[in-house]
């Protein structure tokens, strides 16, 4: 079980080297539109998160996730 804050901190850590735009990454950063991640970047990051948090991340849930904060919230929900 992981809290939202723990998940967000880890997501931001993982995003930092991937963010192509180069600016600061925060919970409100848009993964694709703002940070410039490709769909492959997102999927590969999620594979790592699944192992780390021992969760299975359904593809169905991805379509409604736009920001780092939304991704962290979903990880926290799945890890309950």
């Amino acid at each position: 079980m992981a809290s939202y804050d723990t998940c967000l901190a880890r997501v931001l850590e993982l995003l930092a080297p991937l963010a192509k735009a180069g600016g600061p990454v925060s919970g409100s950063s848009d993964l694709i539109g703002e940070l410039g991640l490709s769909s492959i970047d997102v999927m590969e990051m999620i594979e790592g998160i699944e192992d780390e948090f021992d969760i299975s991340f359904p593809l169905n849930n991805l379509s409604s996730i736009r920001t780092a904060g939304e991704l962290a919230a979903e990880i926290a929900r799945l890890s309950q």
Binding site: S38, S39, I40, E44, E47, D54, S56, F57, L59
Partner: protein, 395 residues
């Protein structure tokens, strides 16, 4: 953002490629000379990017069967399989396919895409779970999305990773659909089907294998990876295509399960599209007979596949994990891959360029395919063309 703004990125990619003078996606084959040669831009090229594994597109028996059938039955059926579009040819092909795979039931589709998309889309529904290999074909991705089921990917060819997901599902694992492929279309590697079959015996899930690239290629009788791995009894559904080893177009699903007929009439991509032309079905039936009568074609295919795979590896190219008829050279840099694609075409060799997001990861691929119809001299010429580019690069 307006409705059509999302296509700006694709427009930009097309413009970029055009500015480099390359047309890697949709290069026009002006003349098809043989299963392995054509002309592009007026120049004779070796076709090393088709999946004509057994080289049957010009087989005399297949051509004669198609010609006879088009003369006798016309150019098209103008009907779907359930509404006036089922001819004796379709019915016969379904029986022959089922017999070939040693299964009780067979369903024939108009394209491979409609089979590999439609079957998983129909087998699972809302409230169900699908576990799929992350390198699955686009048709499978589309199908599982359409199903309405919860879809979870597992790491490519990683049975341990699949098992972790099965464990997390608990009791639900036994009602889960697991989807894998015999030979994966991008890197040409094979699913660890023996390990996955063991998991099926442990967890009791439903197993679907897409043998699109492995039918006619693997197994003593050419039935695919399930046969080669000795686990046919563990596979509930086999899907695939006629557009590779059988040299035509169309798709199939075979199974021993009694529900197959009910499933047939629930698959929208089967129900609501015109059935295959009689000539197409006739040539497919003839090709299936050739596949069974001439197992030596598989030996030739594998000899050519190993020659191409080992040759590229020895030249220093990064290739897929194992030899198979799909031989991919992996490039970290997209521009280099595009340059090599153009360089190969200039030397009379047509392969497939695959760039992200079409490739399984952030790398690009030059994907070649071997055919039983390639001569040793053609494979040597293909390798020479790659070698020349390697030398240019080093200069």
């Amino acid at each position: 953002m307006s409705l059509l703004d999302k296509f700006e990125a694709m427009t930009a990619v097309r413009a970029e490629l055009a500015s480099r003078g390359v047309r890697p996606f949709g290069a026009v084959n002006e003349q098809i000379i043989s299963p392995t040669e054509g002309t592009i831009g007026g120049k004779r090229v070796i076709l090393a990017g088709t999946h004509n594994y057994l080289g049957l597109t010009f087989d005399p028996d297949c051509i004669a069967a198609a010609q006879r059938c088009v003369a006798e039955q016309g150019t098209g059926t103008c009907g779907s399989r359930m509404a006036a579009g089922t001819y004796a040819e379709h019915d016969a092909l379904e029986r022959e396919l089922a017999a070939f795979f040693g299964r009780r039931h067979g369903i024939v589709f108009s394209t491979g895409f409609s089979a590999t998309m439609g079957v998983p889309a129909t087998l699972a529904g809302a409230g169900d779970t699908i576990l799929m290999d992350s390198d699955s074909h686009a048709s499978i991705y589309d199908g599982v999305r359409l199903s309405g089921a919860e879809v979870v990917r597992f790491r490519h060819n990683d049975a341990a990773n699949l098992e972790k997901r099965l464990e997390r599902l608990g009791e639900k694992a036994k009602d889960t659909l697991v989807v894998v492929e015999g030979i994966y279309s991008m890197l040409g590697d094979m699913a660890p089907l023996g390990e996955i079959a063991e998991l099926k015996r442990k967890y009791g899930f439903c197993l679907l294998v897409d043998e699109a690239h492995s039918m006619g290629v693997l197994g003593e009788r050419g039935r695919g990876l399930a046969e080669a791995a000795g686990v046919e009894d563990d596979v509930d559904f086999i899907v695939g295509t006629f557009s590779k080893s059988l040299g035509s177009i169309g798709g199939y699903c075979v199974s021993n399960l009694d529900q197959t007929d009910a499933i047939r009439f629930s698959i929208r991509s089967y129900l609501f599209t015109a059935s295959s032309t009689p000539a197409t079905v006739a040539s497919t039936r003839a090709a299936l007979r050739v596949l069974q009568a001439r197992p030596e074609l598989r030996d030739t295919l594998w000899r050519n596949s190993r020659m191409l795979y080992n040759g590229l590896r020895d030249l220093g190219f990064r290739v897929g994990p194992e030899a198979s008829p799909v031989v991919a050279a992996i490039f970290e840099d997209r521009d280099t891959a595009i340059r090599y694609w153009r360089g190969l075409l200039n030397q009379g060799v047509l392969v497939n360029l695959v760039v992200p997001p079409g490739s399984p990861s952030t790398y690009s691929l030059l994907r070649a395919s071997a055919s039983a119809a390639h001569t040793e001299e053609q494979i040597t010429r293909i390798l020479k063309a790659y070698a020349n580019l390697k030398l240019e690069e080093a200069a």
